[in-house]
């Protein structure tokens, strides 16, 4: 069986106008995957969503909205595992605290809950040069 082996590495300015570019790339990957027996349009929405959420967090919380900074995202598929990495150069935060849903009438705080619900694995770790949010979905 031929499996997909894809690697996409994206750097864009730290601006929300690029959210749709990244989200669309996620959608397109879902639609071109060779082996996927699930609901492709659901996967397309889900990848669009987790990429949008992770990138919006990097822009707003880690890079603090500074439009001259850069956001770096990697999407790869190896052996039927889809891996997303979003790098940030902020101070980091306590990731576990936000995994559970908050109050239904909260205006904020649904991003990490959504990523956690959709993906099979999610972690947030320090690297030499900042932090990386890593999410994995088994296809």
């Amino acid at each position: 069986m031929i499996t997909d082996r894809i690697a996409v590495d994206i750097k864009v300015p730290n601006q929300t106008r690029y959210l749709c570019l990244i989200g669309h790339i996620g959608e397109n990957i879902a639609r071109t995957l060779r082996n996927y027996s699930g609901d492709r349009e659901k996967l397309a929405y889900d990848l669009n969503l987790v990429l949008t959420e992770a990138m919006a967090n990097a822009i707003q919380h880690a890079n603090e909205g500074d439009p001259d900074k850069e956001v770096h995202i990697e999407i790869s598929i190896i052996s039927q595992r889809l891996i997303i990495r979003v790098f940030d150069f902020g101070e980091g935060f306590d990731f576990k605290q936000y995994v559970r849903p908050g109050h239904p009438l909260d205006e904020h705080g649904r991003g990490i809950y959504l990523m956690h619900s959709i993906m099979d694995e999610i972690s947030y770790q320090q690297t030499e040069s900042g932090h990386v949010l890593k999410m994995i979905k088994d296809l």
Binding site: L19, Y45, N48, T52, G111, Y113
Partner: protein
């Protein structure tokens, strides 16, 4: 942001004419709602028929509008949710917060009763 706003008497209809409601444009939606509240228009229908994608900040803007409307004894109702957008409301349990109608006519009619 492309937004069509029309005063229908019993409520104001806001039709979001964007494919995406996300962190890039949800702030603008919030501001437009605030402006209406300031004008004393506390009953809103937000029609999402054209919207194919909503993220958590889009949901947050709608929650903010809902809370503002409620605190002024008004209401914010939704209409026209596409299937996948509806799933987002279910996943976040917001389908229990909002009154959701199939189309804007139904949502507007519910204000006239």
């Amino acid at each position: 942001m492309n937004l069509q706003i029309e005063d229908k008497g019993a409520a104001v209809l806001m039709a979001v004419q964007e494919e995406r409601l996300d962190a890039h444009n949800s702030g603008e939606l919030k501001n437009h709602m605030l402006k209406l509240f300031e004008e004393g228009k506390n009953n809103l229908v937000v029609d999402l028929q054209a919207v194919r994608f909503v993220d958590s900040s889009g949901l947050g803007a709608l929650v903010s509008g809902f809370k503002n409307a409620s605190s002024r004894n008004g209401n914010l109702k939704l209409s026209g949710l596409q299937l996948q957008v509806k799933s987002m409301f279910e996943l976040t349990r917001l389908h229990r917060v909002f009154e959701i109608y199939t189309d804007s006519d139904e949502a507007l009619a519910s204000f006239q009763q």
